[in-house]
Amino acid sequence: MGEPSPDGRFGSFGGCFVPETLVPACQELEAAFREAWADAEFRAELNRLLADYAGRPSPLTACVRLSEELGVRVLLKREDLNHTGSHKINNVIGQSLLARRMGKTRLVAETGAGQHGVATATAASLFGMECTVYMGEVDVARQELNVYRMRLLGAEVKPVASGSRTLKDAINETLRDWVASVESTHYCLGSVMGPHPYPWMVRELHRVIGEEARRQCAELTGGIPDVVAACVGGGSNAAGIFSGFADTPAELVGVEPAGGAAVGKGSPGVLHGSRSYLLQDEFGQVTEAESISAGLDYPGVGPEHSHLAETGRARYENVTDAEVLEAFEMLSRTEGIIPALEPAHALAWVSRERESLAGRTVLVNLSGRGDKDTELVMSLTAGR
């Protein structure tokens, strides 16, 4: 997984489809990122923060009881153990450092489940920047704890009442803010989506997941896993872990929610800055995703995933909410790890495919911890 073409394309996907006002900001961001990424001092400071502040490297856990139960050797990359509870912090620390280097004083971000919002609010607090997070009203209601955490960290949380009132509409509103505030503000986009250079930059900032995991797998097993699985909404945790294995024979599997399977059920379209697979109606109006997981409740997918799907280097499966709830409980019961609902999608796929995966080694990116979801799961499973 290398650099996109000069026009920001992975194959025919990607690009920079934004209002004219934002084009210079995207170009400035690309130049700044290129320069910073080649600067040893920037990389050293980022690595120091990832280690001392975020707690990297995250461990690799070989599941014992789960592996026995499934008949599949399951390894977990423990992004849930990072500071703020998910992989999102990798990207956010990188982008905030970059924003500071560019002289920006304010961060804006969208959030679905709230994990990216919390991570952005955390980085804003760490670097003394202003922070506004847009979150759909539906998500505000189902992720109350994260809303409180963001406010505690000093961020302003703005509920979004338009459209489906979830992640897609939060992104619309963040883009609108950025159109008006672009001179002082950096848009800290939370996934491998949006206009060029975001899909590439965010994947590079999560590459650390894949690089660590490859080294850890080699130490633990002496080789590489047969399969690398990760959940996909926009697809940042998947892009991060895939990037460590794309040049190996490992099978790469992205797992989408059945109600938001852009690759599985969508068609190419242009939304939020890039051309990629998209859920849309017969006229090109974007349709609403519907998933138990606020973090995957998005009708699109990062353009590089569309490219990986089209070239066949990765394949994309989808699982139902019911399968996800089972996996959520299964990991909690067998390993003492409560996963977020998002990575529970990847576990649900492994569980469903246990027969075809029998005896093989599957590395799952456990992208976040489940504290934020326990109340929701409790209400959904009450009286069962």
Binding site: F17, V23, P24, G163, N172, R176, V179, G284
Partner: protein
């Protein structure tokens, strides 16, 4: 297949400018109740062209008024083919310009979208999320049927960028008057005068200021530097408030009077 006469939009607006008349271009969201009559009323009340907004589910360049109008229109069942079919039946003498977002054209197919647009009697198109870098495939499809592609030029653009936009924009150059999305503002932003001045120095094509122009005074202020204005949210708000085509006509008359006093 119908063809538009290439250059019709620029010829019409250019004739205004040559005759000392400031251009007035109202924007109406298609698919709202009575939108077609609102377009006709605007033309009768003194508009020099009318923009027709084809609603898209995710209008990131639009503020609350136009975004809400689009949501209402979509809920009422507006579709691109439906809107274009209605546009074809409008009784107006002034040029019509479609404004929308790229995915609707991408999804229908660029050539088909362009030809159905001109078949509806529309002679220009504005794609709010299609900047210079991504323009080529659409511009080629549009030019094949004589559809003018109007480009936006923003205050954030460098001199070099504004020059490239002026070269490729057809019909007129759309000067984005503020850093921000569409919507009414209390006062005319200094940036509106600045961007219009920068563009006027670079091109002989008509330069129209839009975004943040809502009142007769802000229209007159903006047009003191540019060749005219585009007024969207203020028009659409009148339709959302139930003032109907008459409300639109009254605002167009007020704006016309203010521009004619310059």
């Amino acid at each position: 297949m119908k063809l538009q006469t290439p250059g019709r939009l620029e010829a019409a607006l250019g004739a205004c400018v040559a005759g000392g008349r400031k251009c007035l271009v109202p924007y109406i969201t298609a698919g709202l109740p009575d939108w077609g009559r609102a377009v006709e009323a605007a033309a009768d009340a003194g508009a020099d062209a009318v923009e027709i907004g084809i609603p898209f589910s995710d209008p990131v360049m639009d503020g609350p008024v136009i975004a809400e109008a689009g949501e209402r229109a979509l809920r009422a069942g507006a579709t691109p083919p439906g809107v274009l079919a209605e546009a074809a039946r409008l009784d107006v003498d002034v040029p019509l310009v479609a404004m929308t977002y790229y995915n609707l054209a991408h999804h229908m197919g660029l050539e088909r979208f362009a030809s159905e647009t001109v078949n509806a009697g529309i002679c220009g198109a504005i794609m709010a999320d299609l900047p210079l870098e991504e323009l080529d495939p659409w511009a080629e499809a549009a030019s094949q049927v004589g559809l003018a592609t109007v480009l936006l030029a923003a205050p954030t653009g460098s001199e070099q960028r504004l020059r490239a936009i002026c070269e490729r924009s057809e019909g007129f150059v759309y000067a984005v008057g503020v850093l921000g999305v569409t919507g009414e503002r209390d006062r005319l932003a200094a940036s509106a005068l600045e961007i219009a001045g920068r563009l006027k120095a670079l091109t002989s094509k008509p330069v129209l200021t839009g975004v943040g122009i809502s009142s007769p005074s802000s229209a007159a202020g903006a047009a003191s530097v540019s060749d005219g204005v585009v007024v969207g949210s203020a028009m659409v708000r009148r339709l959302l408030e139930g003032q109907g085509p008459d409300g639109v006509a009254r605002l167009v008359e007020e704006l016309r009077a203010a521009l004619d006093s310059l």
